[in-house]
């Protein structure tokens, strides 16, 4: 499967040669930090305050992927997200209080409190058309979005996020084959964080890597180091343009790591400690901030100021969500059908 394009880390020395302004670097950093602080706060709200309950899947450790990919897309491109979608939503610019409000089950939430954490990324205003809690199911749906885009001769594309676990579902296979057969403008983004719940990737998938496998369907496929936001961005940029121009699917597998348990309550003791430590050493935000400093784009102080501002915004989102009302149960019926 020699036709997989492998992209490793981008050194700081390259930063100044990229067609990215300082503002853009700052924006990338800010987005990553928003996700980080948001998720850390959510984790506390579940485990310490006990104020939130239910299933919740944190994006900690994968920030570079959502931010790198979104940066490479146009705002009017379509996104299909998952139950691990907070990162996708924030990277796309979904207001924090709408996202947090959804976790609180409140009317101000993206889904008016009807979806909860697992569907909170769904935000049509921001062209996130679906956030599924069923592993793999977003893939054929993304193909359908691609079908509509192609049919309408739109020059938009759809980016579909999913995990390594999705690669073993029938929906993955059927969806990618049909996108390839019909030549649909879909960018598939597999966030291979090494685990599907407790199952390590090597015990889940019989193929070597998912990108190689996708190339078996005739898709151009990339395998990128997913803890480097700039590498992800570069690959996604190239891939998105190919999809846009050729109106045919492209596949990106990002190697990354789920820094926490599968869900917020999972302590994930099934992971070897050295493995966890190794990946934590390669934390995407640590890596990126170091390179920003090394390349002289931002100072330590500036990074800290961003952090303060972000933390404040997270806290504001929590407070707004706490105060907000819950939808009236008697009114729920009106969200069932579009026509009666």
């Amino acid at each position: 499967m020699s036709n997989v394009i492998i992209v490793e880390e981008t050194p700081a020395t390259e930063y100044r040669t990229l067609a990215l302004s300082r503002e853009e670097f700052i924006d990338i950093y800010k987005k990553m930090l928003e996700i980080r602080r948001f998720e850390e706060r959510v984790e506390k709200l579940f485990l310490v305050e006990g104020e939130l309950i239910g299933p919740c899947h944190l994006y900690l450790g994968q920030e570079a992927i959502a931010v790198g990919v979104m940066k490479a897309l146009r705002d009017d491109d379509i996104i299909i997200s998952t139950y691990r979608g907070h990162g996708h939503a924030l990277a796309r610019g979904v207001p924090m209080e709408k996202l947090m409000g959804e976790l609180y089950g409140k009317e101000i939430g993206t889904c008016k409190g009807l979806g909860g954490s697992m569907h909170s990324a769904m935000c049509v205003e921001k062209n996130i058309m679906f956030a599924t809690a069923i592993v793999g199911s977003g893939i054929p749906i993304a193909a359908g979005i691609g079908l509509a885009l192609k049919y309408r001769s739109s020059d938009n594309i759809v980016a579909c996020f999913f995990g390594d676990g999705a690669a073993t579902t029938g929906a993955f296979h059927e969806g990618i084959n049909i996108a390839a057969i019909l030549q649909l403008p879909v960018l598939f983004i597999c966030e291979n964080n090494q685990y599907a719940y407790s199952l390590p990737f090597t015990k889940s998938f019989a193929g070597k890597n998912i990108a190689a496998f996708a190339s078996g369907y005739g898709l151009r496929s990339y395998l990128v180091y997913g803890n480097d936001v700039i590498s992800v961005y570069k690959v996604a940029k190239e891939a998105a343009e190919l999809v846009r121009e050729n109106r045919s699917p492209v596949f990106i597998e990002c190697r990354t790591y789920r820094q926490r348990g599968h869900g917020v309550y999972d302590r994930a003791l099934y992971r070897p400690r050295e493995e966890v430590e190794e990946w934590l050493k390669n934390d995407p935000i640590m890596k990126f901030s170091k390179k920003l400093i090394d390349s002289g784009l931002l100072s330590q102080k500036e990074l800290e100021d961003i952090d303060l501002e972000v933390r404040e915004r997270v806290e504001k989102a929590v407070e707004e969500s706490r105060k907000a009302p819950v939808l009236d149960f008697e009114e729920l019926n009106k969200y069932l059908y579009a026509s009666r």
Partner: protein, 332 residues
Amino acid sequence: MPHVKVMNLTREITYAEALNEALREEMRRDENVIVFGEDVAVIGGAYRVTKGLLEEFGPQRVFDTPISEAAIVGLAVGAALMGLRPVAEIMYIDFLTISIDQLVTHAAKARFMSGGQVKLPLVVRTQYSLGRVHASQHSQFLAPWFLNVPGLKVVLPSTPYDAKGLLKSSIRDDDPVLFIESGVLYSTKGHVPVDEYLIPLGKADVKRAGDDVTIVALSRTVIEALKAADKLLEKGIKAEVIDLRTINPMDWDTILNSVRKTNRLVVVDDGHKTGSISAEISARVSEEAFDSLEAPIIRVNSPDIPVPSSLQLEKAFMVDAEKIIKAVIKIV
């Protein structure tokens, strides 16, 4: 008298042809309507319902898919989210079991769980093949499951006239519609107007008026119920035959009004008895018209075994006019 027919502006066409006309008219009317599924384009469908559509509307709007039922409905979900009006075909309702995650856990819930952010104007057309010697894996009547899926609309037409009018409304509807055809009815003929018409979803149809007993039926069993009503009339029993047309939403008013008039109810459908559509109707009517009932409600269904393949055995398995007559006679 062909002259009279022309005056009525109808012609006799088959159930399959009526469906084909509905698709054709809606595709002409709205370019958001697209059609796909297994074998629907080049050969015009396993049962020729989509015949000629590829020729008229081209491969962008009518195309064959691989054997990937989950992806077929997934495609419809995605396309509908973007405002297209996909009409996806699942060749047999038995294969819909492979698409149920997309249909039930996605299409039917997307609007609600997103707080009303999206709508999904999609139609999944399929058919049940009971009565064609197709054996256990190709003869299931799975309609009752979808009665229990809020967010979905479910339609089962019994005549060419209904098939056309209901399919057109289903395509125009803004919600996901499961449109279940009856395989044995494809070749049956009936009068269908030349002019355009629609039949609203959620309204039952009184196919025969009567005072003595109400027979509620749907899809293929409507035909059997009408035959039964004919024979019952010979015995002096006037049966009212109600064709449900859609089971989700269900037209309770029409059913209840009829029962309040006749005070007797027989419910007929092609499913296994236990857990059938008939069960819901029986339960609801008991709840809401308990005092009107002068006899127990009788359900006429298939027995609780898979469908046997053998011609004779399948016949014995199925609901028919005779079984309906027996049930009616028990309570009048």
